[in-house]
């Protein structure tokens, strides 16, 4: 146990008082050599894999793109400045994220802070962003609470929709297939007993029932499950045409491989996070074709194709087909908002993000109540691309292929 002496406390108070006083000093234009952006991201721990696919590469790409183009113009100060980055590892814990954001805001005095990866961590860091008045552009948080959150935290922006968006879009798509007679009425759902799986299945179960589907299997499995043989063998015997798993990446891959081994090949095979990852075709081999999942992209967009190319060139890996483009678009929104305001005035930047219309790689977007409502909800692997089948605002990019091709057994 450590004892904290009065002297230590007084010293600490002195230091923090000084820090507060210093942080209050205005940064003069001539002192400014860069726009300082800070972020804490999971580089180690269980979230590192997700952050390393959807978030960090996009931060790197955006900084590279902006700096190559000369920087961001602050018209009120009459300068164009490059971005300078301060990065911390939050070690996949929410407390560490919050601590790092506090540090970025009070010690490093960065101009803007980018959020960490994941729904939970973004919810946890919301109050901190709010307290220091930094805009929070949550590009990888899926939450149905977003409409309430934006009232509580005025500077928060939620870019990836909520569980209902994805679940209802999937059900609507399947209703069409059923009414056309391509699939039967039976659906099996397996979902991971963790944030994402719970949210999605909570939204999907009533939606399926209301649409008149018969849910013959609706169970959860614990986080970290690696063997799905019992689930697959039970579901295989139930005569379903539609298998839905609200799964995390390792489960998504395991479910695919084990379904192939068990030769369980339903007409609609829908999986959760990970289906949209660029490595999915590598893992599933020829069997990725026809698999549906959460997310999707517009395969006809030139801006997006160029983004894919730049991303791959810089990071050595393609972006994922769901949150990556949204994350990058949120950064484009941020840069455009700064330029329109013409100064690092966080209050004005937040107001501009909230009300302006922006030109991004996912098209022209305007936030609705601080939320991005222009989202791909259901995707399917077709000819090597994870194409969007359903979108919240416009028609799908492609028609779904149902039934999906039968599994090709491994050689």
């Amino acid at each position: 146990m450590t004892t904290i002496s009065r002297r230590t406390v007084l010293q600490g108070m002195g230091v923090s008082a000084l820090a507060t006083a210093l942080s209050g000093l205005p940064v003069l234009a001539q002192d400014r050599t860069a726009i300082r952006i800070g972020y804490a991201i999971s580089k180690t721990g269980p979230n590192a894999a997700g952050a390393g696919i959807s978030t960090t590469p996009n931060y790197l790409l955006w900084v590279d793109d902006v700096n190559k183009a000369g920087g961001i113009t602050l018209s009120k100060l009459g300068v164009t400045l490059p971005i300078e980055v301060t990065e911390y590892d939050d070690r996949s814990t929410a407390e560490e994220t919050v601590r790092a954001i506090e540090r970025l805001a009070t010690q490093d005095n960065v101009d803007l802070i980018l959020p960490t990866w994941g729904t939970g961590a973004n919810l946890a860091s919301g109050p901190t962003f709010d307290r220091f008045g930094y805009p929070q552009l949550a590009g990888t948080a899926v939450t149905d609470m977003a409409p309430d959150l934006v009232k509580r935290w005025k500077h928060s922006f939620w870019m990836l929709g909520g569980g209902h968006d994805y679940a209802e879009a999937l059900v609507a798509l399947l209703v069409k297939q059923r009414d056309a007679g391509t699939i039967n009425n039976k659906v099996a759902i397996a979902s991971v007993a963790d944030g994402f799986g719970i949210d999605l299945s909570k939204a999907a179960t009533p939606a399926f029932t209301e649409a008149g589907f018969e849910l013959v299997y609706d169970k959860t499995y614990p986080l970290g499950t690696s063997d799905f043989a019992p689930v697959i063998s039970e579901v295989a015997g139930l005569g379903v045409d539609t298998f839905v798993a609200f799964s995390y990446p390792p489960d998504t891959f395991a479910l695919t491989q084990q379904s192939v081994v068990a030769n369980f090949s339903p007409k609609v095979f829908y999986l959760g996070v990970g289906t949209a990852f660029p490595i999915y075709p590598g893992i599933a081999g020829p069997n990725h074709n026809g698999v549906m999942g959460i997310g999707g992209i517009d395969p006809d967009s030139e801006a997006l194709a160029a983004y894919f190319e730049r991303h791959t060139a810089l990071n050595g890996q393609a972006p994922d087909n769901w949150a990556s483009a949204v994350t990058y678009a949120s950064l484009e929104i941020l840069a455009q908002a700064i330029e329109r305001v013409g100064d690092i005035d966080r209050e004005a930047i937040s107001a501009e993000i909230s009300s302006g219309e922006f030109d991004t790689i996912i098209g022209k977007v305007k936030l609705v109540d601080n939320q991005l409502r222009s989202l791909w909800t259901v995707g399917q692997w077709q000819d090597g691309k994870f194409v969007g089948l359903a979108h919240t605002e416009r028609a799908g990019a492609r028609e779904p292929v149902v039934p999906k091709p039968a599994w090709v057994p491994a050689a």
């Binding site: 580089k43 180690t44 721990g45 269980p46 590192a48 894999a49 952050a51 390393g52 696919i53 996949s92 397996a190 007993a193 169970k219 959860t220 499995y221 614990p222 970290g224 499950t225 690696s226 063997d227 043989a229 019992p230 689930v231 063998s233 039970e234 990446p249 390792p250 891959f253 395991a254 491989q257 084990q258 192939v260 081994v261 068990a262 030769n263 990970g274 990852f277 490595i279 590598g282 893992i283 081999g285 890996q317 057994p409 491994a410 050689a411």
Partner: protein, 290 residues
């Protein structure tokens, strides 16, 4: 249905046993509570992945490279890092505490190196993912292989430990490291050897697991936790115990998932674990059988 569930369960249990056997040697004989154990497994998985995807060496042949590498690396880790700790502390409690702290640091070193080389993304390849039909139950060949290796290593090492002179020496060190020198046993070198064998087993587990599980640089702790449960349940330092405990866990998980609810597998695992701890705190095959 029941038969199929039992078979699937045994095969899953084989993976658990395979992954845990190395830890039981390291903990039981070398008295090192190796928190970096799972990261050695992941390192071996990366090794197999690189050999397979970059050099086209199939993982079974790859084992011939990765297992000796696991042995050598663990030997080195013990000699450089853990031997001073073991020499310094002659009582078990002290060494346990020290080794936990030291290997906790090692965990981050291995993880950090893997992150720098491979990044944080998910890695996966598929090998022997072909269905094998056993009396009407379809099982993936690679999982069957894990089961076979677990049984082979488990029985083989158990025979070595109980039937050979060298095995007796190892057991002497495990039973009483303070008195073993009195009969002319070099405790340092035996412990180092046992630790290295544990590392080799971890490497074998890592290679097999990489054939069917998606892994990433930061996933080691999952394997450490699972292995720890199996080791404690089976009785520290007892290979047959690890084998039995692994198979029991696999069976229980699969039976619960098939007949009750897949959501309760984790609960069932810990319930069994708790029951064993209450009834037999020394583990299923605790001291008496050693």
């Amino acid at each position: 249905m029941l038969f199929s569930a039992i078979l699937t369960g045994l095969v899953l249990g084989g993976t658990y046993a395979l992954v845990a056997m190395g830890l039981t040697l390291q903990y039981g004989v070398a008295r090192i509570m190796n928190l970096a154990y799972g990261d050695i497994i992941i390192a071996a998985s990366f090794g197999a992945f690189v050999l397979f995807t970059a050099l086209g060496i199939n993982p079974l042949l790859g084992m011939l490279i990765v297992i000796p590498a696991g042995f050598a690396l663990s030997w080195l880790i013990y000699a450089v890092m853990l031997q001073p700790l073991a020499r310094r502390s002659r009582d078990r409690g002290r060494l346990e505490g020290d080794s936990i702290l030291a290997t906790f640091g090692l965990l981050f070193v291995i993880q950090g190196v893997a992150l720098v080389i491979f990044g944080s993304g998910f890695m996966s390849y598929s090998y022997l993912a072909v269905p094998v039909d056993i009396l009407g139950t379809t099982i993936a060949a690679n999982r069957l292989l894990a089961f076979g290796l677990a049984i082979t290593f488990g029985l083989g090492l158990w025979l070595v430990l109980t039937r050979t002179r060298f095995g007796t020496v190892i057991r002497a060190v495990a039973a009483n490291p303070a008195s073993a020198p009195l009969v002319g046993i070099d405790v340092d070198s035996v412990a180092r050897f046992a630790f290295a064998i544990g590392g080799a087993l971890a490497a074998a587990g890592g290679v097999v697991v990489s054939m069917y599980l998606t892994f990433s640089a930061t996933m080691g702790v999952i394997f450490t936790m699972k292995a720890l449960i199996v080791v404690i349940m089976g009785g520290v330092g007892n290979l047959m115990g690890a084998l039995a405990a692994g198979l029991i866990l696999g069976l229980v998980e699969t039976l619960v998932a098939s007949f009750i609810d897949p959501g309760l597998t984790l609960a069932a695992t810990y319930l069994i674990f708790l029951a064993v701890l209450v009834v037999r705190p020394q583990g299923l095959f605790g001291k008496a059988a050693r």
